[in-house]
């Protein structure tokens, strides 16, 4: 179970300021979405947490240790925007990829990717190659690849952005099923408000670049999330709240 703590985080690329004094405490096992205008720095924020980017100043702690330590213990499962499957590996081998690398750091309780593949409905496609799969299926393999590490923290950077609307809503449902009850902490970047609300326990709204936290609210919708959660009046209210915060942040 992971606890992510950010204190006074700043990040700039040369003269370009991307993160402006971000401080956050993220509770173990919670699903937290970051929404904000595109290019605002929300992706950089989660990349810093995943240890893929160093902060310019401030501290980041994942379970009390710096991201580099979390990374070396394979405690961060990454789901990138593009599935990034290796074309020469079968679905099964792609799902095993992260377990095949840096084996010494594999957790003793690593999940069996084959079981997970069956769970996400890819049981009949284990020996297929990525080019034989649809975009949604490829992204499901990417999900399994990250979940197989049994890592306490999942970092997902707009993983459904390239999918069509129907596949997207299926993926939302699937993701909710997969993380509910697993106790995994999820940092989820998106620019889709209803996606953020449908999935999250907490939604954080970022300002345009450099990113600051302008709103931070809890999503008090019951879990497990129902298939028709988007018809719920509370869901609609929360989406409106998030939209107002976002529009407020966009105004100069």
């Amino acid at each position: 179970m992971s606890n992510v703590a950010l204190h006074g985080l700043n990040k700039s690329f040369g003269d370009l300021e991307v993160l402006d004094n971000v401080s956050l405490e993220i509770e173990s096992g919670s699903f937290v979405s970051f929404i904000g205008p595109s290019g605002c720095g929300k992706t950089t924020l989660v990349r810093v947490v995943a240890g893929l980017e160093a902060a310019s100043s401030g501290t980041v702690l994942v379970d009390g240790s710096p991201p580099a330590v979390a990374r070396s213990h394979k405690r961060v499962g990454l789901v990138p925007q593009q599935p990034g499957l290796l074309p020469w590996r079968t679905v099964r081998a792609n799902a095993h990829l992260l377990l095949d690398i840096n084996r010494a750091a594999n957790p003793p309780d690593a999940a069996n990717p084959n079981t997970l593949l069956r769970e996400v409905g890819l049981g009949d496609f284990m020996e297929s190659y990525p080019h034989e799969l649809s975009g949604g299926m490829q992204q499901r393999v990417a999900l399994v690849r990250a979940l197989s590490l049994h890592s306490p923290l999942l970092v997902m950077d707009e993983p459904f952005a390239a999918l069509d609307e129907i596949t997207r809503s299926e993926m939302r449902l699937l993701l909710n099923q997969l993380v509910e009850g697993r106790g995994v902490t999820v940092l989820f970047v998106t620019h889709n408000i209803s996606e953020a609300v449908a999935l999250s326990d907490r939604v954080i709204v970022c300002s345009p670049r450099p990113a600051r936290v302008v709103a931070d609210f809890n999503v008090d919708l019951p879990r497990p999330r129902a298939r028709d959660i988007e018809d719920d009046s509370r869901f609609v209210e929360l989406c409106a709240e998030a939209r107002h915060a976002l529009h407020g942040a966009m105004r100069p």
């Binding site: 240890g51 499962g77 925007q81 290796l86 840096n102």
Partner: protein
Amino acid sequence: MTRRAFAPLVGIVVFVAVWEGFVRAFNVRPFILRAPSSAVNYLWKFRSDYLDAAWVTVQHSMLGLLFALLLAVAFGAVLASNRFLERAAQPILLLIQVVPWIAYVSSVVVWLGLGSAPALFMVTLVCLPAFVFASVDGMRSVEPATLELMSSVDASRLEVLTRVRLPSAAPLLFTTARFNVGLALAIAYYVEGANFSNEGIGNIGRSAAANNQADRLWASVFSIAVVGVVALLLLSLLERTVLHWHAAQRTENR
């Protein structure tokens, strides 16, 4: 497979028939162009000599090619991760590529002496640059997202090389290998003829040319052609097996 092989076979048969007909009809001087039938006859008569010679030439060309490939993968791994070294290596590789090997091969033969050494050295050297360029380009072609994924679990450089960079470079390396096969055979043939070590098809060809032996010369042309064609066939077979996942291998019956 049978259907796929049919059209090329027709092409070969027509080519050989036209050649044979041309030589007979116009009574071409034997040394300029030999009819395929008489070259094949001669080849058959001295088949064990040519088989031994072909085996030597196969070793010179294919081992040289293999050394060049292995060196190129090692160089490629270093150069793909270091822009400075890549820029520094570029003029050397380009020089090897543009300076005609035939211009300095005699010196190499004098330097390395008799036997297989000069042939292997020359094949390796001259085939190296194209392989290195392919290896660097191929290893650089990996998606940034994939590299990021690898670094998210602290993959070592060696793991990134073997799991991601090398497979990504494989298609380009195969394409380059197909070009280099012809080059490797030409170099092996020439060097074998240059150092009087009495081995290899090149040696037979060279002494036949010097002694005006048309049949012997054209039989050596035929046997080096067979070596080349077989090498290319095996290479495409290997490519089809290893790269079955690659887009270029997927379209059947193109």
